[in-house]
Symmetry: C2
Subunit: 232 residues, 2 copies
Amino acid sequence: MLELKGHTGDDLCRSMLERHADVISVQKPDVALKKLKIIISAALKLSNSKGFQAMSLRDLSKESGVSMGGLYAYFDSKTTLLNMILSEVTGAVDSVLGNPPPEVVSDPIEHLKWLIEAHIRLTEEMQPWFSFAFMEAKNFPAKERGRAVDSEALTESLFAEVTARAIADGRFRPGVTPLLPTMIKPLLQDWYVKRAKYRRRKVSVDDYIAAVQEMVLTTCLPVDQLSHPAAG
Amino acid sequence: MLELKGHTGDDLCRSMLERHADVISVQKPDVALKKLKIIISAALKLSNSKGFQAMSLRDLSKESGVSMGGLYAYFDSKTTLLNMILSEVTGAVDSVLGNPPPEVVSDPIEHLKWLIEAHIRLTEEMQPWFSFAFMEAKNFPAKERGRAVDSEALTESLFAEVTARAIADGRFRPGVTPLLPTMIKPLLQDWYVKRAKYRRRKVSVDDYIAAVQEMVLTTCLPVDQLSHPAAG
DNA sequence: ACTTGTCAAGCGAGCGTTCGTTCTATAAAT
DNA sequence: ATTTATAGAACGAACGCTCGCTTGACAAGT
């Protein structure tokens, strides 16, 4: 089973500290990391329940137990806080989906299956972060919204490339809808957008990965290559 | 081709006037309708570009050309405005998807195809309304958020019912994923969530309906019933 | 024909509140 | 003693909402 490394809350906050050392005025790394984790997890919790823009810094102060002034030791504006989180999400997408293991890139079908699995596993590990970055994106200031949109476009382009390669290699059924790469995205996004629903229904990550892979492959593979129970 | 009636901006605002006659203090129906249309279209435009909660009533006043006081002749609070729009959306979903034409209900496959088409055509006609109701829902006050969630659940239950019926009738391939009805929803929602993208790529409503129907039916029909180019 | 009275409709300054942000005083650590 | 971290009061701007005033169409009275 695919393993992703380096995307726990701890890893991500550590990366944030490096990336934004210029605006974070707290010097001691261990103190900074400990508090940053508390602040970020409170920010994700509040944003994902009431929206980033509706979350006031007083809410965040109360939820995290850090005073108003204390918060401003970790960012210099509310928009900077937004950007700090956003950077980690887009960075994770780039580094994970952009670096497929060598053994899958030669076969577009395997590459496609890997992209589906990697995307779902990454969003599972970073669920509140993805909800934040893409569900809230519409309400972001213009520049930050643009970054979220670009990140989404990049993901879709990866699916478009691998699909085009599969078609060029004659691996797909002729006449399969050109909308296929576009339609994969909403299926993947549903995993983190509606995470609570799937949890309630006891659908596991593996169940969901298998279901999406089945639906996509059944749509695009030639009929004679379909195996009825979920393909191995 | 399926025709839906009664969901133009004009129809919807007329319905709003009746439904909320108690809070709308403007008496002359033609005056009220004309202004309400202006106000609602401005509200949808602003909400969909910056979020409902980020839209101030001063923004709305400026965009619609109606003064602050004038706005309050049409609603008694910002939340009431939200509810007025929300009611029209959930009402349209109930009345359209809940009333399939008699000729499709006997055949679950035809019913399923009809549900897909009707959903996409309805959201096409009411695109800004659906974006408002479901993309903004997360930021709504608790009660209003509940109404949006309920409406989504109702839609999914319609797909679950027709799917269950198809399986009971032996019309689906054995072993098709039980997640199918759940996965249809995100495909349908993408049409109004990412409407701008599809417009840019010159994907028509009919193209999209055909693509979703193809993907869903290819996934669930027995292999020997698949026709390779989009089924008629 | 012209004035006057009436009232629905519309306006925008201003209310109290809360927002993001800053600042100063203090506590803790080295 | 000096740096580092923290708390929370204070500030101006902007928020949802209210309210007293103006406008304009129309009917009654002359």
